[in-house]
Structures are given as C-alpha cells and as structure tokens.
C-alpha cells in the first residue's frame, strides 16, 4: 500500500445489510467525504442510518427479525455484525470486527434492556470498564476521577445529570482531572474535562472554575448559532463541610442566547440541533464517520447554508452521511459531485432499496444547474428521484 493511501482516513465504501426493520437485503456503495441520501417518507432512510451507525455505537433499537446480518466495508477494512436473540438477552452482537490503519478490534458485547427499556451494556471487554445501570458512581483511575452515569447526551442536556456525587478527592495534589461521562457518549466528559485539566483546585474558587473553556467550540457556536457562550449552572456544585468535599448534583448546562442564560429546554429546536451537531464534530475529532439525519429541521435557511458550508469543509477529512428532505442541502453539491446523491425507495418485495443517480440523471442535473440555476430545481420540478430501472442491470 502506498504512503498516500495509508494516510487516507477510513470511510465506508460499501454496505450490505439484511434483516433490520424495512431493510431486507440492501447493497450500496459510498464515497469518501459527503454523501447525501434523499427519498420519500417511509422509504427507509432512518432505518438505514440506524443500522449502519451500529459501527461506532451500541445498538439501541430492537431488530425485527430473529437474525440480522450486516457487512460494512471501508476503504481498508471490513466490519461485520451478526446477531440473534438468545436467552435472557434482548440481543447480542456475536461478532464485531473493525480494522483501520491503527487498530483491530474483535469483541463480543451482550445487551439487555433495563426496566425503563433502555439498553444496558453489561460488559465490553475492549473498553475494559464496567458501567452501572442507574445513578452515579466514582471510579478513581490514576489521577483521574471518573463519574459515570447511565445517561445519553440527549437526556443529560434535557434533564441535567440527576442524582448526586460526593467528590472527596479533589483537594489532593491539585493536578487531577474531574471528568463526567455517560455510558454511551463522551460529550459531557469532553466539555467539563477540558475546563479542569491540570487546574490547581482551590476551595473558594472551585465553582467559578467549572465553566466551559473550549474556545474552539464557543467560536463555532458564535459563528453558526445564536449561542454566544456556555457555562455549568453554578448551583450544580455545593461545598459539603461534613466530608470536606464537594457535592455535584443536578448538573445543567446553561446557554447564553440574546444576552440571557437559558437552560437546554428553553432553547429552540433549531438551536438545539445546531449545538448538538457542532458538539459532535468538535468532541469527536478523531471520528472519521458522521451520520446526520435531516440537519435542516427547525433551522433558518441562512443558518442552514452556513451549516452546510461547515459540513462540506469537514467532509474533506471525514465521511459524512446525511439524510435530507431539503433542497437547500442538495444545493451544496457542485456539478461534479452529483454522484454523491443516493436515492432511497421502498420496494414491496425487496424492502428498502437505494441507488445512485444514473449517468443520464447526473447529466440532466448538470444541465439544470447550468440553465435553471440550482440542482434543487431538478429535484423540486422534475424527476430526480425516479428510478430508471431500465438503465441498470445486475451483473
């Protein structure tokens, strides 16, 4: 393999999926960088994203069939998911293997659902950590205090981190990092961990030091969203003289919008979505793969335009797979990029199917861009999504 090829980030090049909701047998190729999936409601776009996103996340959806099988090829590796129901487990990933230039992982993960119906990871031998079902728990590993919660980022933003944790070890040598993470998402860990890393902790100004100090995130938020600043709710951390420690409870993020500090639930849907997208990109810088479902929801056209510019820029180094119903999103593509469009349709016999634009459709799209002005004119006024079955034959 040449040096240039080795440096190319991993991306999904081909997917073959079976047995998940509307997906019966589906094969499709992807390109490095930006891929845009379009198609009518109910054609299976969301099901597709859910299934493929099992690569990097724990499955949180139940499968509709007793067995499922997914093969995902990247430009330099293969990932296979095979699963079945069994015993007390809701489902089990029997094999999960992924390789890229840096590492190869093979692991077995068992899942079951707790009483609330949320999936719980019982044991993950790769990560090598136990996670707990509910509430918080402090683990001291070297100089790092980990607080783990069974919450996802969505729930943390919505409700705050509920429950309380006593921190008794923060007066030590002053070089500790306080980190809060959740079992399936490390965004909060990143937000707070950044702010306290290497900080000498002093009793009287500890609370004031707990704030978001990541300039990069703040800059992006200022540029692309109405959010001007972030902080942790001051009331989250309380000094407890009994054990000479701090009690961290009901942690909430606050957002400065229109010169007012607002809770998550006070933000508009569009602002929440924008924040979430930028948080994901910045907190997971090492991730090569991002899935975004309908980024346009609740977002003003001007900000959507800026967001798509940002995503296109990011797609130079990452693979980004987007589903959309927005013509504005499609208009981000240049004339030589129309092969990045994937159309989803539902076939009564085959279930969810996907296809790229035929050469004829690509030519027609380019003509629309030349003569009418926008690719979206082709989508909105003509037959961009129509499947031209006669143009294809299976080899």
């Amino acid at each position: 393999m040449s040096e240039t090829k080795e440096q190319q980030p991993a991306y999904i090049s081909r997917v073959h999926l079976k047995g998940y909701k509307s997906i019966r047998d589906l094969e499709i190729d992807f390109k490095a960088g930006l891929n845009i999936i379009i198609g009518p409601n109910g054609s299976g776009k969301t099901n597709f994203l859910e299934f493929v996103s099992l690569i990097n996340t724990y499955p949180i959806y139940q499968f509709t069939q007793e067995e499922f099988d997914g093969l995902i090829e990247t430009n330099n590796s293969k990932l296979e998911l095979k699963g079945q129901y069994g015993g007390d487990f809701q489902y089990q990933i029997i094999e999960k293997s992924f390789s890229n230039n840096k590492h190869i992982l093979t692991r077995q993960i068992d899942f079951w659902n707790n009483k609330e119906g949320n999936p719980i990871v019982l044991f993950d031998e790769t990560v090598g950590k136990h996670f707990i079902k509910n509430g918080g728990k402090v683990q001291v590993i070297q100089d790092i205090i980990y607080i783990t919660f069974g919450n996802k980022i969505e729930s943390i933003l919505e409700k705050g981190i509920q429950g309380s944790v006593i921190l008794t070890n923060i007066h030590g040598n002053g070089n500790q990092t306080v980190a809060i993470n959740s079992t399936s998402d490390f965004d909060i860990f990143w937000l707070i961990g950044e702010s306290l890393q290497g900080m000498k902790v002093l009793e009287n100004d500890f609370i004031s030091k707990i704030k978001i100090k990541n300039d990069e995130l703040i800059n992006y938020l200022k540029q692309f969203t109405p959010i001007r600043d972030l902080k942790i709710d001051d009331r989250s951390l309380v000094y407890n003289p009994i054990n000479n420690g701090y009690e961290l409870r009901n942690v909430n993020l606050l957002f400065l919008v229109n010169k007012k500090w607002l809770y998550w639930h006070q933000l508009s849907d569009g602002t929440k979505r924008l924040f979430y997208i930028f948080l994901k990109f910045l907190s997971k810088k090492n991730n090569n793969l991002f899935f975004i479902e309908e980024p346009e929801l609740g977002i003003h056209p001007d900000q959507l335009y800026l967001l798509m510019d940002f995503l296109k820029e990011q797609s130079k180094e990452k693979q980004i797979i987007i589903t959309t119903h927005s013509s504005e999103v499609l208009n981000i593509l240049d004339k030589d990029e129309l092969d990045r469009i994937i159309v989803t349709r539902y076939d009564d016999e085959k279930g969810t199917q996907m296809h790229h634009l035929s050469p004829h459709k690509i030519k027609k799209g380019q003509m629309y861009m030349d003569k009418v002005g926008y690719l979206s004119n082709f989508w909105v006024h003509s037959n961009l999504e129509e499947y031209e079955a006669e143009e294809y034959e299976v080899e």
Partner: protein, 207 residues
C-alpha cells in the same frame, strides 16, 4: 450494477400542464391508447403549477433542460384560458406564451389551449359520465361553450353515490373516456378535435 445503453428508437412526447398530476396525466390517459408505434407520452416538469408556468425565466430554462436531456421529440403544452374564447386579450397572452415556449424547444411544441378547462372534455362524453356516476343526463351540445365546466360537473355529480367530482378524479375518469366520442363532440376553433388532428398529422396518434 452496470449501465446499459439507453439509446432507443422511441419517440418521446413530453406533456406539460397547469396541474401535472391531473391535467397532463389525464390527457396522457386519453391519448396513449391511440399512440403510434414507438410513441411514448410522458408528463414532464411534474411539480410545476400554472402560476409557475408563467414564471418564464424559470419555466423556459427548465423546459429546455427537459427537452434536451430527455431527448424529447415534441412537447404538448396544455393551458387553461380561465375565460371565454371571446376574451381575445387572454387568448393572445396564452398564444404568446406558447410561442416563446415553442421557440425554446426548436419549434417542436404542440399547444392545446383548453378554452374552458379540461372538464369540458369529460362533458364531451356524457354517456361515460352517466355510466360512472349512475346518472341519466342528456348530451351537452358542444361542451366547449360551457362557461365553467368544472363547476357544472360538480353540480351534476353532487348527489351521486360515487360522490361529487373533484379535480383529482380527472385521471381516473379520463382513463374511461371514449376518444372518438370526445373527438366528435369537442369541436370548433381551438377544440380537442383540432388538437387531435394535429397530433394525427404529426404521426403521434392514429385513429
């Protein structure tokens, strides 16, 4: 997947109307059974509506893109007059529009000006209306002269078991219409009869 050569000897006829899923599709249903060999009718610009057809900058460039990329031989334009034939100014506006559209596609346009809406064609086959709606209506003498055929059809069918006629019923009804009957009854200047004769002369349909 492997690409196949899509070149064919098909004669493609595009159809553009005020309401693609109703007007244009309806006309296709009426013409398809009479199509000459290799002739295919296809509704194009499927999501444009009447007022957007009048946005000429956008419409004409879209039309040109469709004409070239789909390799169409002819394009049929269907426009409502929204008036009566004596309103010459309205007729002139529509005619001028069709001339500009025709010029965009190398004079391969065929214009059908539905003087009194497409529903006049349905009223041209009153036997079929009676059959579908279980009515006993008498034939209407030249439905082209009806001022508001849509309203008339709605009134006539209001109390039927099938339910009052709506615009979205048009494609289903047009499938049932007898071409020869419509041809015979929708006559005169700018009529369906004249339009069908033009299609026949151009060897698009045969009857």
């Amino acid at each position: 997947m492997k690409q196949k050569n899509t070149k064919s000897n098909k004669i493609k006829i595009g159809v553009v109307g005020e309401h693609p899923s109703n007007d244009s599709e309806s006309l296709c249903h009426l013409l398809r059974p009479l199509a000459c060999e290799n002739v295919q009718f296809k509704v194009i610009l499927t999501k444009l509506r009447g007022s957007q057809l009048d946005n000429e900058r956008m419409f004409l460039s879209s039309l040109e893109s469709e004409f070239l990329s789909e390799e169409l031989h002819h394009v049929i334009f269907i426009r409502d007059l929204d008036g009566v034939f004596s309103e010459k100014e309205k007729v002139t506006i529509r005619d001028n529009w069709s001339k500009r559209a025709d010029k965009t596609i190398n004079r391969q346009g065929i214009f059908f000006l539905a003087i009194a809406e497409m529903e006049a064609l349905i009223l041209s086959d009153i036997d079929k209306v009676n059959e579908l709606y279980k009515l006993k209506l008498k034939a209407i003498n030249n439905p082209m002269t009806e001022k508001d055929p849509k309203k008339k059809l709605m009134q006539l069918t209001e109390k039927t078991k099938r339910g009052k006629y709506t615009e979205s019923d048009a494609p289903v009804i047009f499938k049932e219409l007898v071409f020869q009957t419509v041809y015979k009854n929708h006559k005169g200047e700018r009529s369906f009869q004249v339009f069908a004769d033009e299609l026949k002369d151009k060897q698009i349909i045969a009857f």
